[in-house]
Amino acid sequence: MDSRRILITGVSRPEGGRLAQRLERQPGVEAIVGVDTHDPQHEFELAEFVRVDPQHAQFGRILRAAAIDTVVDTRLVDDPLRISLKDAHEVNVTATISMLAACGGPGSRVRKLVFKSSAHYYGGDPGHPAFLSEEIGRARPPRTAIESDVVAAEGAVESFAARHPASTVTVLRMADQVGAEARSSYLSLLALPAVPSLLGFDPRCQLIHEEDVVGALAHAVAHNLPGTYNAAADGVLALSEVASLLGKPLLPVLPPWGAGLAAGQLRRLGLRIPVELLGQLRFGRGLDNRRLKAAGYTYRYTTREAVLKLHAEHSGRPLLGSGGESYHYEREVEEFLRWSPSVRCAPTAGGSSPDPPEHPQPGSYDELSAGEVIEIIASLEPDALTRLRSYEASHMARWAVLEALDGRLAQKQGSESRR
């Protein structure tokens, strides 16, 4: 089924706005309606903006009037950085339920629902496997407010899917987002001059670049992906590795016992670490992203590349006070990047685009030493390896890198043929 008339919720937030801009350029899209509770930051060509109340009470009327066939819900708040827990509950659970009721209500033509969820669904647990697969579910009931919101929202979406077997319902569980526009508690920790950590723990971090968030959502709109999918970049880094890539020291300010109390003290000093993040700083989290890849999505950035990109963005900013300030949409620059014929590679393209760039980031790749490149090789897929092989051969042609690439390719081909 083709998505022609699309409604995007949460369009005033970076992901929603970028998604609307991305979908505008897709052929076959007739109408895009963006709804949110405040004015959008992005400029739209085709998309129309409608301001709604926080409960999304008028949602059903908009759906019917615009004959919407696809709803992309990007509202879910998984981080209490700038919203109270009570408001978050309203957005995550109350509004989701009324939105779903509107989608399934009389006169609705909604045939596809893409729900942006969060990896906070899984929570932090020492009993978790290294890579969480979509079926694992929750071993124990959620312990924090945000976690139970996410679980309740997904439960509502699941029962909607069960009641409407004819519609395609996609749930995308996003890892922690990084990028120039994204704002979260996690990112504000990484933006500090030293990265705070929990004494005696070096958790595994897996991130997703905001471009891949938009890319994955757009992929779910363009294709039929019923079910739940994890969306997280390839590769897992230890927090200490993330800190060293950012060129910052790791500062174990939180004690292993009574971390919650210590976090409360830090909050008085102006550093807010939510409970969910404390769990992540203790146990880390890895998501099994193979299902989304099998469904045809190609990630543009690995976790390492996302961190390196974040580093490049951080280095242009003042040292302190950069965590909370909001992103400024610079109209001229954005217009130029989107429409000018002199721009070679559109910045929002990638992801599902048919011809991915030669290498994700040739500029930063050339700066990597042979040892660093060899470390990355283990996490790459065969076609990426082939591309990297040709890039390396034509540019620096370091024999150690070429040898490692050939070895890995042979190994991959061997294991493919055995299967």
Binding site: P126, G127, L199, A238
Partner: protein
């Protein structure tokens, strides 16, 4: 740092002798199963070191650890850096099947933690046989390993239960601070195939039987090895 420590322990402290390394397959996943070794986990690292020393292959060996230990400050970090992985069916399957790696399981771990010095080398039942299930699901062979030495190197005298409650560790063993210089012998045994059990049929009785078979192979070899040695310290 660990390299020098392991090197020292392996070569000079435990004077490790190995036999039958050729039984470890040089490619594809394989599940290695060893008897439990004393209060401090000296057995696992020495098996890993033995594989590396023998030049048999350059593949790392992944040790399985108790998941609760992962939540303990310092330990979880250390284990991850040593390439150990929490014992979870999904982790084991991913390593064995998807990544075709070597995994070392110590199935008696949970009960053997309470095994005092007097009961050493009596291999406890591999209850539930979770490791067999993992190997069958991944279609990999099981390589039994008999390890002699670790139980004398770090004998278990008792447990400190109040401390255990206080720290919430699964166990706080009372043992020597640093392992004693017992002579280590590691014997890799002929692989036990899991192909006769189909991937779907993981019925309890068959799994139990295979687990018991692996246990008895290890036990028989341990008895043979203990009978053959003249001294705990010199071999």
């Amino acid at each position: 740092m660990d390299r020098t420590l392991y090197e020292f322990l392996y070569r000079y402290w435990f004077r490790t002798e190995i036999e039958g390394v050729e039984h470890v397959p040089s490619e594809g996943g394989a599940l290695l199963v060893a008897n439990h070794g004393g209060a401090a986990p000296t057995g696992g690292p020495m098996i890993a070191k033995a594989l590396k020393e023998s030049g048999h292959q350059l593949r790392p060996l992944h040790l399985l650890t108790d998941p609760p230990l992962q939540g303990f400050p310092g330990l979880g970090m250390l284990f991850t850096k040593l390439g150990a992985v929490p014992d979870h069916p999904d982790n084991v399957h991913r390593l064995l099947f998807d990544e075709r790696q070597l995994v070392l399981a110590v199935p008696e771990r949970a009960q053997a933690a309470g095994k005092a010095v007097g009961e050493r080398y009596r291999v406890r039942s591999f209850e539930r046989g979770a490791f067999v299930r993992a190997a069958v699901r991944a279609g990999t062979p099981i390589v039994p390993i008999a390890v002699l030495g670790p139980q004398e190197a770090s004998p278990l005298f008792g447990r400190v239960d109040p401390l255990r409650r206080l720290t919430r560790l699964p166990r706080v063993p009372l043992s020597t601070g640093f392992p004693l210089p017992a002579k280590f012998r590691i014997r890799f045994l002929a692989p036990v195939g899991t192909s006769e059990l189909s991937r779907v049929a993981t019925d309890g009785a068959a799994v139990q039987a295979l687990a018991e078979e692996v246990r008895s192979i290890i036990q028989a070899n341990l008895l043979q090895m203990t009978a053959g040695r003249r001294s705990v310290w010199l071999g």
